[in-house]
């Protein structure tokens, strides 16, 4: 990175994020910045706080302390049990409107068809014209390879198909950043590939993404930066070659070896 070039704008920034569940301190001061076009993979053993960290960005978990920025919206937290003002709640809604979130368990709306799932937010949250929403939703379904499943109910789709619809749904609201929370962990092994292919294609389009994952080979290949979390702190961060192949931290080295098997 050349410091003299104009840097691309920040899409997501976390500053000094702390979060405890009861006495358990899950995040202990996390700083993270995703610029436009960055693909950041977040790895770590279970309990390291990586999912909590991702969920703090759209306030699915409310950080106790720190600062969350998405696009132009910044929210500052001053302590546990913070009560949000009306203005802050609106700000959180606007902030949420700028990200697309993909869950481990898909969480499609079961009473809507695939197409209705994808159209819901543009139509009923963003209030865009129906014809436009429909056209774009169809395009998104085609992009994830499910144009022919537009009228299928979620219960009639495989896990991989459901997750691809969920990705189309996240894309349909035209987010600045996509957040993936272990998108393939709930899938049968033979269905993982189709979902990873879709995510890889999005990375190649230059989308800004944060991905919490256990798929080490995939993360190494697709991301521009990687972060290794341990006990609520960033233990190692850098380009994927460093984090996955030659980390400074001994613990990170053991983790990536253990996860990926012997690295050649």
């Amino acid at each position: 990175m050349n410091p003299t070039t104009v840097r691309t704008p920040t899409t997501v920034r976390l500053a000094n994020i702390h979060k405890s569940f009861g006495r358990q301190e899950v995040l202990r001061g996390i700083d993270l910045e995703a610029r436009d076009g960055d693909v950041i993979s977040i790895i770590g053993s279970s309990g390291s706080g990586k999912s909590t960290l991702l969920r703090c960005i759209p306030f699915l978990e409310i950080p106790d302390q720190g600062e969350v920025t998405v696009g132009d919206e910044t929210i500052v937290l001053t302590g546990a049990g913070h009560r949000f003002s009306r203005a802050e709640r609106q700000k959180i809604r606007r902030l949420r409107g700028q990200i697309g979130f993909v869950f481990q368990s898909f969480n499609l709306w079961p009473h809507m068809t695939a197409l209705q799932n994808v159209m819901e937010v543009p139509l009923h949250v963003q209030g865009r014209p129906r014809a436009e929403c429909r056209e774009e939703a169809e395009a998104m379904l085609a992009k994830v390879g499910l144009a022919d499943k537009r009228d299928a109910w979620p219960a009639h789709l495989s896990g991989g198909q459901q997750q691809r619809v969920a990705i189309a749904r996240a894309l349909a609201s035209r987010p600045r950043a996509l957040l993936f929370d272990e998108p393939t962990s709930a899938l049968d092994p033979e269905l993982v590939g189709e979902v990873l292919r879709v995510i890889r294609a999005l990375a190649e389009e230059g989308r800004t993404m944060l991905i919490v994952t256990h798929e080490m080979a995939f993360a190494r290949e697709v991301s521009s930066h990687a972060i290794y979390l341990h006990e609520g702190r960033i233990e190692e961060a850098g380009p994927p070659q460093q984090v996955f192949l030659d980390p400074v931290s001994e613990r990170c080295r053991r983790f990536v070896r253990g996860q990926a098997g012997p690295v050649d």
Binding site: F103, N107, P110, H111, H124, V125, H156
Partner: protein
């Protein structure tokens, strides 16, 4: 046999017209009571799920009280008790003598109140059956609370609640017979009158039973169709791919 047909028919000697009107009254009073109960039940379910502690407590007490006293007593309370209170208020404003209140209104409210307690439980159960992830998926988009209720919560809860609400509708129809104590000429009252004046109780009470059965059967069918439509695409009803 021919006499029975004449008596139940629509001719000048027949009770057909009176029974038909009474059947429609039963249907109307049941529909009003059910609607009342649905509104009350929805409010109570909301209070129990997400309301402030005071309302939550109030909803609990309402449920306990209504389950613990006989339905007929609730109707008496609304009709006779209500008449007494309305009269007292009217007398304060210079009106003299008793004020009549409508058996239809008092009866619908009373049965609505009874049914509301049960409907609250049906709706609360249905809310808790919604997969929490689907709510999180809505929340994360910045969806407003009202939109979320309308688009995500209500449609999912209603399809789970439909069988329970169908049972409630059937109970309301049967309980509506109790409103006959207010003098409202619904099915039970009409067949009683007919039975007395013709001295043919067996025939007319049988006819009354047939009217209730017709109403419950047809509305049961309507609920079954609604359930079938609502369950399209649901995992419990996987019909092919």
């Amino acid at each position: 046999m021919g006499e029975a047909f004449t008596l139940l028919g629509f001719g000048p000697e027949g009770w057909g017209h009176a029974l038909l009107t009474a059947g429609l009254t039963t249907l109307a009073v049941s529909a009003c009571a059910f609607a009342c109960g649905l509104v009350l039940g929805t409010l109570c379910a909301w209070a129990k799920i997400a309301g402030p502690p005071v309302l939550r407590r109030a909803a609990d007490i309402y449920g306990v009280v209504l389950r613990g006293i006989p339905d007929l007593l609730v109707i008496y309370l609304f009709y006779f008790g209500g008449r007494q209170i309305v009269t007292a208020i009217a007398n304060q404003f210079g009106h003299t003598g008793p004020v009549e209140i409508s058996g239809f209104v008092a009866g619908s409210l009373a049965i609505g109140l009874i049914s509301g307690a049960a409907q609250a439980e049906v709706l609360r159960g249905a809310f808790h059956a919604i997969p929490p992830g689907t709510l999180e998926a809505a929340r994360v988009t910045g969806m407003r609370r009202w939109t979320m209720f309308r688009r995500i919560i209500a449609p999912q809860a209603l399809r789970t609640a439909l069988p329970g609400l169908g049972n409630q509708w059937q109970s309301v129809i049967k309980e509506s017979a109790l409103v006959s104590v207010t003098g409202l000429v619904e099915t039970l009252r009409a067949v009683s009158v007919a039975a007395n004046s013709t001295e043919l109780p067996f025939l007319f009470f049988l006819a009354g039973g047939a009217i209730y059965l017709a109403i419950t059967t047809v509305s049961g069918l309507v609920f079954r169709i609604a359930e079938w439509r609502a369950m399209r695409g649901q995992p419990a009803m996987r019909v092919g791919g």
